[in-house]
């Protein structure tokens, strides 16, 4: 479950308008929520605050009932997939997926097993020894998804994950995201500016505009 209470953020500088203005909403456990909004509406800022990459001016963030507002990103139990995947440029796909497990001190044989499982789950087993250079947009997003899921987060945060792929690849990724969410029983917050993408996904639709959540539909 994700719960935001009165979250505000204003960029530094004099006389700046708030990007997020007392934003409050809740995404129930194991729900697939889509947050829509135009470019510059504060969607990415909101995700960065949820990830712990940016501190809110005010308000609180709760994940599965635990307040995480001041916790570092790695202790929040989240998986994060940015727009272009943000793969690590010098690591192979295998090393990318293993990264989170290595940072958590998981044993080498368990890492090997879990990396294989995660790669099979998103269909990138054949790419394990490849570097990110040369991977297609869809492949990059699949690798980024495996890398986020392998550490078993309770919440998955997706920032425009389909923005940089063609329509055919989008359909494949939409199927994958829905299947992944069902199989892992994971809470997903998927940020997009695309109505088409939002319509194909999500039980809960939120709309962010002018720094506030203007509408909430589904899962009533």
């Amino acid at each position: 479950m994700i719960r935001l209470e009165n979250l505000s953020w204003t960029p530094p500088g004099k006389n700046r308008a708030p990007i997020l203005d007392r934003v409050s909403f809740e995404v129930p456990s194991a729900a697939y929520a889509v947050l829509m909004g135009r470019t510059g509406s504060g969607k990415t800022t909101l995700l960065e605050i949820l990830c712990g990459l940016r501190s809110p001016g005010s308000g609180t963030v709760r994940i599965d009932g635990r307040e995480v507002t001041d916790l570092p990103p790695g202790e929040r139990g989240i998986g994060y997939v940015p727009q272009d995947g943000a793969l690590f440029p010098t690591l192979t796909v295998r090393e990318q997926i293993a990264f989170g497990l290595r940072m958590r001190g998981v044993a080498a044989d368990e890492i090997a097993t879990r990396v294989l499982e995660a790669a099979e789950g998103v269909g990138v087993s054949a790419l394990l020894d490849r570097l990110p250079t040369g991977l297609s947009g869809g492949e990059r997003q699949r690798v980024a998804l495996a890398r986020a899921l392998v550490v078993k987060p309770s919440v998955l945060l997706l920032d425009e994950p389909l923005a940089s792929v063609d329509e055919e690849t989008q359909d494949g990724l939409i199927d994958l995201l829905q299947r992944t969410q069902r199989e892992h029983r994971i809470t997903v917050l998927h940020v997009t500016h695309s109505r088409r993408e939002a319509e194909g996904l999500g039980e809960l639709h939120l709309r962010l505009e002018g720094g506030r959540v203007l509408s909430r539909t589904g899962l009533t």
Binding site: C51, A86, L91, M103, R147
Partner: protein, 261 residues
Amino acid sequence: MSPVRRLSPFWIVLGVIAAGYLGFWFAMLAATATYTSPREVMEVLLSREIRYATLLSLVTCTASALLSAAIAVPVGYLMSRRRFPGHSFVDAALDIPIVLPPMVVGICLLIFFQTRAGGLIEQVIPLTYTVGGVIIAQFVIAAAFAIRTMRNVFDHLSPRPEQVALTLGATPSQAFRHVTLPAARSGIFAAASVAWARSLGEFGPILVFAGATRMKTEVLPTSVWLAWSVGELEQGVAVSLLMIAISMIVLVAVKLTGERV
């Protein structure tokens, strides 16, 4: 010829300006290269003093380049990734060695090492009028160029992969070590090369702080100056040609990394 293929006078004028500037440079290099014979050049370069100056230049430039890279990587990363009170001031301050006349840097070094703090350092590592002084004189200026290069490198690397690494449980230093640093390898090489090339040409601060003693603190630019001051033009030209050749090699090496400096 189609209108698309026709060259506008505007581009022709710009091309002429560029060609004129490059032509002037090549004319200077060609004049220097033909001033003396290859036999005379080899004689000068194989002399005991110039061999010593060459070796000292190679050793001190390498040491100052390594020191510069060691400073430039953390400082460049800090300046690229964090905004803090006084950031603009620190950014400008880091450029001071670039804009300061080199001779002034030498005087500042000399005066600092006569203070109590400088004296304490000198008790551990003697620097004034020593080979160590040559390295420090090269380093204080070369590091500023290396920092600028590294900041540029980090500015062009997206912070997103580091941020993802943080969400995967890495600490900021682990994200830097495992994600950013490997991605910046060619940039680090470029920064070190720029620092190396800058150190090779350094003269003013070395003259003031380390002196120009033959077979002791004499580096290649000092050799040119010493030869020139006693009217041995052939010797000065021979050493200059050696420095031009070394600079060209470094320039090509930096270009091969693909980094913009």
